[in-house]
């Protein structure tokens, strides 16, 4: 009794303490993410990527597409920070502009996976029975292919282009979201507050969208961050095979592929775009790990 009273008194006396007590799950998680050294590094890398993409025209020293045959295969110098490629284009500037494509790939592919996956998973988990059976069998079939192979096959059908590569990689990511959302929906569906809203007469749609899905947000966000990394890797892989971004787009995977033939004479053409991919994927993985630990410790393996 005494301690409770003391606590109440402390609450009145210290507004900072009070606001801390009232802070939401989200604010709590955010502070945990920032406190973790690794996820902070991830956050810095991603912020850097976004800044470079926004200010690409100011940061780039040359045009990303202007060719100059006399300047081909120059090694890194003060004129060309990271050297030039087989058409004399400045690699540094191409990587800088390529960051825009990388962000686009990350956002669009994961957007596709998330929208379709969350919808399928929510419907399957919420309505159950035959709806669940049909959707989950479809998901099983999609998961029967190694993911990069399914993406390659889809691009074979849709045709070679960056847009189609993004659609393909997006579709490949659907099963993961569907499975996570379905299992979360299944557990949320059984809680008392859902039963309560049903009792007061709420319709299925309302229960699903305003009560069930908001409670699945944490795992969805974690999955999205971790998927961006793989999506960027897969899309770059497709471009590397010549199935994604087509010339003269400064997409990092495609730049790498262009440099393959000159590996002996001009290794920098391959070296720097690949390093950029590694760095960005690392950033998303670090942040994703941090978010997972902060938002949903149960997901920690």
């Amino acid at each position: 009794m005494k301690t409770l009273a003391a606590e109440a008194k402390a609450d009145q006396m210290d507004p900072a303490l009070k606001s801390k007590k009232n802070s939401s799950l989200w604010l709590d998680s955010l502070s945990r993410v920032i406190k973790s050294k690794t996820s902070l590094i991830g956050l810095v890398i991603i912020t850097l990527l976004i800044v470079v993409a926004i200010f690409a025209p100011q940061i780039a020293t040359h045009s990303p597409t202007d060719q100059s045959i006399i300047d081909r295969y120059q090694s890194p110098s003060s004129e060309h920070l990271l050297g030039t490629d087989e058409l004399g284009r400045d690699i540094f500037s191409r990587i800088v502009y390529g960051s825009r494509i990388t962000i686009q790939i990350g956002v669009i592919t994961v957007g596709i996976s998330m929208i379709v996956g969350v919808f399928l998973g929510a419907v399957a988990g919420f309505f159950g029975r035959w709806v669940d059976q049909i959707i989950m069998r479809l998901i099983d079939i999609m998961m029967a292919f190694p993911s990069i192979l399914l993406a390659i096959a889809l691009v074979a059908v849709l045709g070679k282009s960056l847009t189609n590569a993004m659609i393909a990689v997006g579709i490949v990511g659907v099963p993961h979201f569907a499975r996570i959302v379905r299992s979360t929906v299944l557990s949320v569906k059984e809680t008392e507050y859902i039963e309560a809203s049903r009792v007061i007469g709420a319709k299925n749609g309302r229960i699903l969208f305003s009560h069930v899905l908001p409670n699945c947000l944490a795992p969805i966000i974690v999955q999205a961050t971790l998927t961006i990394g793989t999506a960027i890797l897969d899309a770059a892989g497709l471009s590397f095979l010549g199935l994604g971004a087509q010339p003269p787009l400064p997409e990092w995977g495609a730049m790498l592929s262009d440099g393959r033939s000159a590996l002996q004479t001009a290794p920098w053409v391959v070296m720097f775009p690949g390093f950029a991919i590694l760095l960005v994927v690392l950033g998303f993985n670090l942040l994703g790990d941090g978010l997972r630990d902060a938002l949903d410790p149960r997901l920690k393996q």
């Binding site: 690794t38 069998r137 479809l138 099983d140 079939i141 029967a144 292919f145 190694p146 993911s147 990069i148 192979l149 390659i152 096959a153 691009v155 074979a156 059908v157 045709g159 990394g229 890797l233 770059a236 892989g237 590397f240 095979l241 010549g242 199935l243 995977g253 790498l256 393959r260 590996l263 002996q264 290794p267 391959v270 070296m271 775009p273 690949g274 390093f275 991919i277 590694l278 994927v281 690392l282 993985n285 670090l286 920690k300 393996q301």
Partner: protein, 334 residues
């Protein structure tokens, strides 16, 4: 147990039918006329008609699908449009290359990954722990096609230590029995061929092993840390058992279940990763075959190869599940 396996096999039937429909539909989902997209813009109407006849494209879909599945069931995977070779014999000659590469990569990934994970867990927060876990973080973020090219640049171009492509040097003789070159050279006691095949395997194997190795190391570490908190480990230590015995006999044995699951899942990943690795190192395997077929729009090859790879993938996952239940008696078979 047998019941469980049979039930799982039966549950695979709808999945494999679904997979076969997708593989079959690939050619028909291409916008426009498949015959036109195979032969290109310059083909004449007679040539197109001949190809349509050859591929039975004039039949109704359901009949075409029936034919496709009927042939597959008898082991006839069709012929390549480009090379006219039988797809079954091409896959037959290329599959051992992919299997050898995948098994080699998995061996590297498991040995180094588990060892690094155990040491990192035992010496938690030591320099080794920090170093190997940072390495693992880079590993899971690695574009393996880039890593492969960088290896070729360093070890083949600059240092001239390892061959950049292929499975065996031209001047090496090897009697082929299993078509797994390392195994064949051991069986025929051919030392030179063994060394040569090993040197060819090393770079593609390491490149392909990178991501699984990183994932296995992280999984082993966290699983070991979990187990080492248990009372029976404290008891084992307290009664004076040697540290190594406690770690390997008591801890690792119990920590190995989640690790096994990850290893099984990674096998599937390797099949996909082989597509990129084989392309970079000109490794004559199934992955490169399917990419080449897609790039040249050789649809009969694409259909059958994708179906075969998906079936292998599904079976590997099934075997993982079965092994899992064997290793962990707590798991109910229902």
């Amino acid at each position: 147990m047998l019941n469980y396996i049979i039930r799982r096999l039966v549950s695979l039937i709808p999945v494999i039918i679904g997979v076969s429909i997708i593989a079959f539909s690939l050619m028909h989902l291409v916008p426009g006329d498949p015959a036109r997209s195979i032969l290109g813009e310059k083909a004449t109407e007679t040539q197109l008609e001949m190809l349509r006849e050859e591929l039975n494209l004039n039949d109704p879909y359901i009949v075409q699908y029936g034919n496709f599945m009927g042939k597959i069931a008898t082991g006839d995977l069709g012929d390549s449009i480009k090379s006219k070779e039988s797809v079954a014999s091409e896959i037959g000659s290329r599959l051992p290359a992919t299997i050898e590469l995948t098994l080699f990569a998995m061996t590297i990934a498991v040995v180094i990954g588990v060892l690094a994970g155990v040491i990192a867990a035992v010496k938690q927060y030591s320099w080794f722990d920090n170093l190997s876990m940072s390495g693992a973080l880079f590993g899971v973020s690695m574009p393996i096609f880039w890593l492969g090219l960088m290896m070729i640049w360093l070890f083949s171009v600059e240092l001239n230590w390892l061959p950049p492509s292929g499975r065996l040097s031209n001047d090496i003789e090897l009697t082929k029995i299993t078509n797994l070159y390392l195994v064949d050279s051991i069986l025929t006691l051919n030392g030179t061929a063994f060394v040569d095949a090993f040197r060819h395997l090393l770079m593609p194997g390491l490149a392909l092993a990178t991501i699984p190795m990183a994932i296995i190391a992280r999984m082993t570490r966290s699983s070991m840390l979990e187990v080492m908190k248990q009372d029976y480990i404290r008891t084992a230590n307290a009664k004076g058992l040697a540290g190594r015995l406690v770690i390997f006999q008591h801890a690792l044995k119990n920590a190995s279940l989640p690790v096994l699951t990850v290893i099984g899942l990674q096998f599937g990943f390797l099949l996909g990763g082989a597509v990129l690795t084989e392309t970079i190192f000109s490794w004559p395997g199934v992955g490169r075959y399917v990419v080449d077929a897609i790039l040249s729009r050789d649809y009969p090859v694409v259909q059958s190869t994708i179906l075969i790879i998906a079936i292998i993938f599904v079976l590997v996952n099934l075997i993982t599940d079965i092994l899992y239940t064997l290793f962990d008696p707590r798991i109910k078979l229902d």
